[in-house]
């Protein structure tokens, strides 16, 4: 069988693209962006319906839109883009050919068919079971079959990624350990394998139940195994977007990790413990013991949380060291003030990092505490938390990476550069405010998912304080700002990819794989530490004092918020 060994070297970045891998990265990224477009339109409808003053959609349409929004955003957009990231991290960063491109294409089309099938089932109107699709609520068999086909396709793509690692090692396209960004992608792929397996274990019998071949699915069993899929799929995102942070720090600043060993160890902690957090969703369920709940929601006694804090410290720390070595060495924050805030690749990544840590991370640990979870369980606080992690954290990081990929991968100049410059601010700040107001409303008890927070017309309607309505209104306004930011991203990316000026690659030639190997890297000036350490940069013996200050601010915020919630718990459930 003929093997395509054609490579292209990007003249501006030096990245080496294997031709079939390049096509697959592009098509997976485009499929992801199309899902984002559909999910974004649905986001507008959902937001305008949950705005008490507007209530745009009738209930049946609201639940349909919410179901499709959840699946298109949380599953299809994210996983398509993650497959693109996996192929990039394996084939391009290891400078090797993609293993079995035909199988990778089969996986891609399987994912496309699955995503379309699932969307058809939802838009037909008889599968408004929301993202979680809890039994005994039943959806159309196509709903489950679509998800299963998509999951199988994604699993095959993950194995193509692992196969590519084997090819790179066998053909010696790299020496020693894989680069850190690829190691992060390996972490994401491992979590994806468990995630998809858990999905298969529960969705296949549920599909058989939907066609009448299985008589009963136990609801607690379903919830327990399903969350192994539902929550872990969001942990793939964490590993993937942390890898993207490291990549962007290297791309924009030439930054190298403060400690490779520490960063790799943090990824290993993700591999071992991150997926256990699925138990967050079952903290109010009877039948499972506190031992199981506490052990699992602790991310195995907070080791995976420690790993996130390590990444949150080392990525800005690496940027700070690189900036100080370039001469931005005054005071605590000159390195940050003089960062390229007009470069959407950097600003998107930095807002993603701060938003993920301060909003998503702190709220995640709080709600993962069994007792505190009672305050906010099944309230709109929960989507507030995951919009901070998955949207501000993952989606914004992926958007930031796109601004780097358009010229190097799609070979097009960026259209609307002014709009691109502002997009991460409009989207990131809008979505951060959206998450904060959701969490505020959730703390006041506003339920998630429900079409009408007041339960009007019900036998026992509920009176919320005026503040809750104010929070929901502010949430909607911030959500609209974020939707505008999403539309700006789509305008820039779709416009650039289809209408942007083509970048010609001078001297483009197909080369065999051995010659396609890039020469050994030459460290750029910013990446080279002066002999004897970091020289005279930093303050008071710290090479990254600004990052240390930011980390202290984070820790104080974390501790205050955590204990304020214990105090709040004591007031909502008095024991006297």
């Amino acid at each position: 069988m003929a093997v395509n060994r054609n490579f292209r070297t990007c003249p501006s970045t030096g990245l080496v693209y294997h031709e079939p891998a390049e096509k697959l990265i592009r098509w997976n990224a485009v499929a992801g962006v199309v899902s984002l477009l559909v999910g974004g339109v649905l986001a507008l409808l959902v937001t305008l319906t949950r705005w008490p003053a507007v209530k745009l959609l009738p209930p049946d349409w609201f639940y349909l839109a919410l179901t499709a929004h959840g699946l298109d955003m949380l599953v299809f957009w994210i996983i398509f883009f993650e497959i693109a990231v996996l192929y990039f991290a394996a084939s391009t960063l290891l400078k090797c050919r993609l293993a079995t491109p035909k199988v990778a294409w089969a996986a891609f089309w399987l994912m496309i068919v699955g995503a379309i099938m699932n969307n058809i089932a939802v838009f037909k109107g008889d599968s408004s079971v929301m993202f979680t699709s809890y039994v005994p609520m039943g959806a159309h068999p196509l709903f489950y079959l679509g998800l299963i086909l998509f999951a199988v396709g994604a699993l095959v793509a993950v194995f193509v990624f692992f196969g590519t690692l084997v090819v790179g090692k066998a053909e010696k396209t790299y020496n020693g350990s894989v680069p850190l960004v690829t190691f992060g992608a390996i972490t994401a792929a491992i979590i994806a394998t468990f995630t998809i397996a858990a999905g298969a274990i529960i969705l296949i019998p549920t599909f058989l139940w939907s066609v009448g071949l299985v008589s009963h699915i136990d609801s607690l069993m379903y919830r327990t195994v399903w969350w192994g899929f539902g929550h872990s799929s969001q942990q793939i995102n964490v590993a993937a977007h942390v890898s993207v942070w490291y990549a962007i720090a290297a791309i924009v600043f030439g930054a190298k990790p403060m400690s490779e060993k520490v960063s790799r160890t943090a990824f290993v902690l993700y591999i071992l413990f991150l997926q256990l957090a699925s138990a967050h969703h079952l903290l109010a369920d009877p039948g499972l013991t506190s031992n199981w709940k506490i052990f699992n929601t602790s991310y195995a006694m907070y080791l995976a949380v420690l790993a996130s804090m390590v990444h949150g410290l080392t990525v800005p720390g690496a940027i700070e060291v690189a900036q100080r070595e370039k001469g931005f060495n005054k005071g605590f924050f000159e390195w940050l003030r003089k960062a390229p805030w007009g470069n959407p690749c950097f600003s998107g990544m930095f807002i993603s990092l701060v938003g993920f840590g301060f909003l998503g991370g702190i709220s995640g640990v709080m709600m993962g505490t069994e007792q505190l979870n009672l305050i906010i369980h099944n309230t709109i606080y929960v989507p507030g938390h995951f919009h901070a992690t998955v949207v501000v954290g993952t989606t914004l990081a992926f958007m930031a990476l796109t601004y780097f990929l358009i010229p190097t991968l799609f070979r097009r100049e960026l259209m609307f550069p002014g709009m691109a410059k502002w997009q991460p601010y409009v989207y990131g700040l809008g979505m951060s405010a959206f998450s904060v107001f959701m969490m505020g409303a959730g703390t006041l008890g506003v339920p998630r998912r429900h079409w009408d927070m007041a339960f009007s017309g019900a036998a026992m309607p509920h009176e919320f304080p005026g503040t809750a309505y104010l929070m929901m209104g502010l949430m909607a306004v911030s959500g609209l700002a974020a939707i505008v930011g999403g539309a700006m991203y789509l305008a820039v990316t779709v416009g650039s990819v289809f209408l942007g000026k083509k970048i010609q690659t001078p001297g483009f030639a197909h080369v065999p794989v051995r010659k396609g190997m890039a020469p050994p890297p030459v460290w750029g000036p910013a990446a080279v530490a002066p002999s004897g350490g970091h020289g005279t940069i930093g303050l008071g013996g710290f090479v990254a004092p600004g990052t240390f200050v930011l980390a202290m601010v984070f820790l104080v915020s974390f501790i205050l918020y955590y204990f304020v919630n214990w105090k709040y718990l004591s007031t909502v459930w008095p024991l006297s």
Binding site: S12, T13, G14, L15, T92, L93, L94, F162, Y174, N175, G176, S177, V178, P179, L180, V181, T182, F183, I186, T187, A189, I190, T193, F194, D218, L220, M221, T224, V225, G228, Y246, A247, I248, A249, A250, I251, V252, F253, A255, K256, E260, V268, I271, L272, Q275, L276, S278, A279, L282, G287, W292, N296, A300, A518, P519, P520, P521, W523, G524, A526
Partner: protein, 64 residues
């Protein structure tokens, strides 16, 4: 755009042959094996989350 992300760190793609004359530390050789990590990353949550959780659910007495 100042650096290729493939070059993030001395461990990846370093062309200096002298570095590879040193023995590879055991932990590094373990971490460099993606299939060992794959096994651990699937086995840990399968045992601690799914198997343990399912065993607890199966152990719930059935109502009479």
């Amino acid at each position: 755009m100042s650096q290729d992300p493939a070059q993030t760190g001395p461990a990846g793609n370093d062309g200096d042959d002298d570095v590879y004359d040193e023995p590879i530390p055991m932990m590094q050789s373990l971490i460099d094996n993606p299939f060992l990590l794959l096994f651990l990353g699937v086995a840990m949550p399968t045992v601690l989350y799914i198997v343990w959780g399912v065993m607890e659910i199966v152990g719930i007495p059935i109502a009479k």
